[in-house]
């Protein structure tokens, strides 16, 4: 009985470690995904950013499907300076 509880306890610890690892990994990947999404719309809006723009019809064709990415762009523009802090947090650097 007691032994059984111990195994469960170990299991619980391992699963907590696993979950926390997964969450950390997911957090990092989410950060990367957001960065890429941000770059994706920035590239399409070349004339807006001042870098050479792709032919305008590409942006016109894609824009209707990019609500999420544009939200990310807006979020990143507002939180540009926090981005380093966010990354440090994700990597566990204080």
């Amino acid at each position: 009985m007691k032994r059984h509880g111990f195994v469960n306890w170990i299991k619980h610890i391992l699963s907590t470690i696993d979950t926390s690892h997964r969450e950390q990994a997911a957090g990092l990947t989410e950060f990367e995904a957001r960065e890429l999404e941000n770059i994706f719309v920035l590239l399409l809006m070349g004339s807006f950013t001042g870098i050479p723009a792709p032919p305008s019809f590409i942006a016109a064709e894609l824009l209707p499907h990019l609500q999420h990415e544009i939200k990310v762009l807006k979020f990143r523009a507002e939180n540009a300076s926090d981005s380093l802090a966010e990354m440090a947090g994700l990597l566990g650097i204080d």
Partner: protein
Amino acid sequence: MKVLFFTGKGGVGKSTLSAATAWQLSQTGYCVLAVSFDPAHNLGDIFGVKLTHKKKKFTKNLYLQEIDLETAASEYVRTNVSLLTEVYGYLQSFNMDKYFKVLRFSPGIEEYAALTALEKILKNEVSKYDYLVIDTPPTGLTLRMLALPRITLTWVDQLIRLRKEILNKRYTIHNLKGKYEPRGVQLAYKEEDDPVIRKLFQLREKYSEVNDILQGEKNSVAIVFNPDYLSLRESERLIKGLKDLQFPLRVAFNNKLTDENNEIALEVEAKLLSAGCPKRIERVPLIPHKGISGYMIEHNLTASFL
């Protein structure tokens, strides 16, 4: 359908030679569509008829058309704006129509419009004609128009690669967390569910097709030049530009030759050959003023295109 582009510096004889080539091919029995992309049209003048944006029958197997780049540019802008107004309905209240007139002067619009017109012809006329003979606009615009499919493909490939990476990340997150719904929105993580990558695939297919035609076996670019140094310089630039774009420059016409300019004609030819000009150079004599009557010139031009 074979496609022939006549390129070269202003005034060297592109319109004259393309019109004459189209005429001669049609006289040989081929079905020919001659199209002018030069905003300063003179195809109609050469054939002595009034032409519009729509093709016109000249003989039973020769049709003529002048692309109106103004109209094409407005159409282009309109199509793109309407893509947006479908989604962002409120744009309609901006009354974009008012701006079309100036929007068509936006950078790049002219070559988009020209290319769109070319795509349309390539798509709709392939099966109807043996030859499509094109009188091109000034060199800069011609090169930008011909480069556009490649530029588009370069961008689209780059965006596809980036998009795949995004989808991969989303897939990883989905696997780690069971779902990935930032702010309650379910994001696509598979290619088949992602409208963005599907649109990109569509664009890639469309412009690969156009590019394949332009770089393909059935396309011939002809360069027209005169025995003079200005025409030499521009031809060198044109040859380099076409080579960078991997377009098949197959024939050159050394036009307006006389006994007097024979020496310089040979010099220009030699220089152009070393710049990568096709080996096949057709020499066309200067026709005495009275001898040139529109599209009919005696010299046979079709040999290189059969």
